[in-house]
Symmetry: D2
Subunit: 138 residues, 4 copies
Amino acid sequence: MTKYETKLRVQYYETDAMGIVHHSNYIRFFETARTEFFRSRGYSYDAMEKAGVWMPVHSVTADFKAPAVYDEEILVACWIEKLKGASIELGYEVRGAETGELYTKGTSSHGFTTADLKPIRLKKEAPDIYNVLKAAMD
Amino acid sequence: MTKYETKLRVQYYETDAMGIVHHSNYIRFFETARTEFFRSRGYSYDAMEKAGVWMPVHSVTADFKAPAVYDEEILVACWIEKLKGASIELGYEVRGAETGELYTKGTSSHGFTTADLKPIRLKKEAPDIYNVLKAAMD
Amino acid sequence: MTKYETKLRVQYYETDAMGIVHHSNYIRFFETARTEFFRSRGYSYDAMEKAGVWMPVHSVTADFKAPAVYDEEILVACWIEKLKGASIELGYEVRGAETGELYTKGTSSHGFTTADLKPIRLKKEAPDIYNVLKAAMD
Amino acid sequence: MTKYETKLRVQYYETDAMGIVHHSNYIRFFETARTEFFRSRGYSYDAMEKAGVWMPVHSVTADFKAPAVYDEEILVACWIEKLKGASIELGYEVRGAETGELYTKGTSSHGFTTADLKPIRLKKEAPDIYNVLKAAMD
């Protein structure tokens, strides 16, 4: 299983009055990591949308283990947990870049749809993308 | 089980290029609803912190059913799913204020801690707050 | 000159590691206040867009005098500084709701445009809206 | 005058329903660029704070010329406009990384203070930092 890592630096506007990253921002880090993971496989969101494939978020989960702090570099790993005909499940881990300490674990699930959000079977409608994603699971 | 509802209006800066509320913002709506629910019971976060009780987020989940759009009023219901000695689980539902349509369901779990994040048993350390939360479950 | 006030409560996710509202959020408070000001005059953004009028932001300024803190209620005043044929300038003041202390002053300027951002002369293209805004300056 | 450039990629959560970057986010891009500019000179915010120097934002301005869109790379230039004994003024330009088109121009002004926000004269209290910033103006 390939885990693709994106390095981010915590911004001041992402912290809160507890002096740590506000928990809602990890959901945004997941999105960035997911985008870069797909880009690394040749499918930026633009490329997917040009191929007629949208990927709306159906659900997210996040478990907060330890807090990231201002200006620290973090590594956000993203990988494919499950690839089904019409949906996909992704996993995430956010770690401190220096220490490797696990800060947050999470998941997201997505449907494959047309631009107007009608579900499609990826394998049938866009086999190229399906195969690239399948290969990314090895 | 008491469900406390907070009415919010979707702001332009909360939408994204799909023309709907960005999914990460529902996690923020949950926080607002949780705060107002506690305030309605006499315990604003300030009051809790003055009583020596912090409530860091351990985990969140969100299921996105249908999108809220710009300028629409939404109702965010919040209630207590489980109250244990040292932790609490909350449930959320976000609905369109006009139609009642369910947009998002979610949960959050929290520990009770001191200011420096040492776990405490709420029932023992702050029985007043424990009893108020217990009563809010009826 | 009418100043329309919108009351907001500072959210946790709007604070930063200094324990105060992150300065970028005042620009968002301005937007909320501007929207409510227009709504109070009978022109929500939806109503304006239905009338064929868009109002993209050309510039903003903000002077930060004193910080708002978590959970505090703030009053954001908004008024029309200048109304020209094809543009409008708005003023803003953010104050503590309890003390009246001035936290932030600001301005924004906007053009009037069609949906595809072609400049229009409001007075000519939508005299109803122009007159309502003109009246709001008294 | 040295202009230090930071490359950023526009995130989905930074766009709004107009399909472009929400204007408030440019204020955040300025902050990131300012931080990286200082880091490039050997003074991360942490390093400055360790030296006893804080730099609260006194004011910001932004002029929006053209919109950045989702997933596009942008270059945010930051430079010192004025360095006075107790304050600093910075300039910013946001451009499309590919085309060089100017999207947004801006400024920010900051005081130099202690941790509890008492103004200090940088030249006297932290001559090392003052000299580094002075040199960055050439």
